[in-house]
Symmetry: C2
Subunit: 289 residues, 2 copies
């Protein structure tokens, strides 16, 4: 069998073909334009590279509720042309093979869980902190979903004592986690791109505090066995020990968690987590047929 | 078959026998004293009222991780004698029948899900707001657990603009959800028991704001299909519309949720949720044998 992967981001799509041994045998990157143009490239790629099933991890919010009339649609995105687009329907109209339809963060969570930083772990939070903040959650070996998919980047937090004046940059909530701690918030607060702040900059104490506060809340609600952190901001490796230290202080000994060096970890698969997760979910969709 | 229920609270234990039709055929209430004395009464009750399996919902924190060496133990409670007590082990030593071991809020969640306010719902948050705040979470028809059980009453929140001076009463976190919004926080803030505050008191706007903020966070992380609220504080029925209104304002249209009158509901089983949940879980334990 050969599995197809569509990592559908707001800026770029990554398309790939993966074999039974989970080796990536073809890969292509295309720019995200209007739906029709973008999907035309997707069809061309998979016409040239036949696969038996496809996993799709799409930028959200998307409708993953199978009971919903708009299951398979992209929802309220500001991205021109994509709002209320029937993504999954367009794929099925092109070729009626098994699909697994979920979010971009969920496919990366599955990749890291089965092949990366959380191998053998059944209860996982995968968090990406980049332009936005998104979480993929695995509970009992299954992707967590209910009425919809998690939007855990938008939880409310209280502000760091040195950061009480900052209004946050989330257009919906101002000072939610994403509004306080995603890459653009650093640029808004300090006037330079996050990558240009020196490692000694006071920004990182504040950043670690917010990330740790969110992880404490995820831990109290979900009790995961591991939390894996990725995304552009987490390239700042010195954040990891700072986050662990702040986590201990903010949890205040309340709930038990595993050893923190294992509990809070960086991603292991770098850019491959998404496409490998898509392939694993494509395989699952095929087996469920 | 006859199922036993042990609702083990910090103040009282409720013991019950439930038949195949989920009718409560015997019930007794005993005071919680030292473990040996309390369990002696439990054994006496179930010696006189034979059952085939027992569900136990215990005050926490407790160890529900089957991989742990202290599975079945009560953990770091301030309650004299109970810390590190092997509750499940003591039950098994008395009689080797099937047990289901979980938290007091989890058994109530199961009761409400199968027989109460969330019948037919597979993804549920059950929240009790009383002396403390505790949550039982059902995902995909299963009680959510990972490394341990949820402690979702202790998540951090930001403070209401009219309440920024209050230090909170949680001994661990000060201003966590429980520290800001459980019954004792109202007493600490206003100097009278919550039940004596008039329905028009400004306290309830603040209370509704905190409860709504926590529900927004649970919704963003878990995407449940329904949230059921119980506990002493929720006897103030006028809180429900206030919570729904504040929920809408704080969610700021971000994530889709079901119709709010259905989404945020009071409990339906009153004091029976716990023992019925114990019985349903006892039945499950017996079937898993
Ligand atoms: N080395 C770095 N250090 C700190 N921040 C970074 C770094 N690299 C990228 N970022 C920030 O991360 C964000 C981009 O995140 P990324 O995960 O690369 O992309 P996206 O989230 O758009 O998929 C930008 O806001 C950028 O400022
Ligand atoms: N009618 C009421 N209105 C407001 N608060 C109440 C009411 N009844 C009880 N409470 C508060 O709820 C708490 C007790 O919660 P309850 O759920 O009855 O017990 P517990 O949590 O100890 O099992 C107390 O702090 C009390 O002040
Ligand atoms: Zn937000
Ligand atoms: Zn607390």
């Amino acid at each position: 069998m050969r599995y197809g992967a569509i990592e559908a981001g707001g800026t770029k799509f990554v398309l790939a073909v993966i074999d039974e041994d989970m080796q990536i045998v073809a890969r292509e990157r295309i720019d995200t334009r209007l739906p029709a143009e973008t999907l035309a490239d997707v069809f061309t790629f998979f016409d040239a590279n036949q696969v038996d099933a496809i996993g799709i991890g799409a930028f959200g919010p998307i409708d993953i509720n199978k009971k919903s009339a708009t299951y398979g649609f992209v929802k309220a995105t500001p991205k021109p042309g994509w709002r209320d687009f029937d993504f999954l329907g367009a794929m099925k109209a092109w070729r009626d093979i098994p699909y697994f339809w979920t979010t971009d963060v969920n496919v990366a969570a599955v990749g890291e869980q089965q092949l990366g930083a959380a191998k053998g772990i059944n209860n996982l939070v995968y968090l990406t902190i980049g332009t936005g903040i998104g979480a993929g959650i695995i509970q009992n070996g299954q992707l967590l979903s209910g009425f919809g998919h998690p939007e855990a980047g938008h939880i409310s937090l209280h502000q760091h004592p040195d950061d009480t004046e900052f209004k946050g940059v989330c257009p919906y909530h101002g000072t939610c986690f994403e509004g306080l701690a995603a890459g653009p918030s650093l640029q808004a607060r300090y006037g330079v791109p996050a990558v240009e702040l020196g490692q000694e900059h006071a920004a990182w104490q504040v950043e670690a505090y917010y990330i740790a506060q969110a992880l404490v809340n995820y831990s109290l609600i979900l009790s995961p066995e591991r939390i894996v952190l990725g995304g552009g901001v987490m390239h700042q490796q010195m954040l990891f020990p700072m986050i662990r230290e702040s986590f201990v202080a903010q949890m205040a000994d309340y709930a038990q968690v595993p050893n923190l060096d294992e509990y809070i970890q960086p991603i292991a698969l770098a850019d491959d987590a998404g496409v490998l997760g898509c392939a694993l979910l494509a395989k699952y969709a095929l087996e469920q047929q």
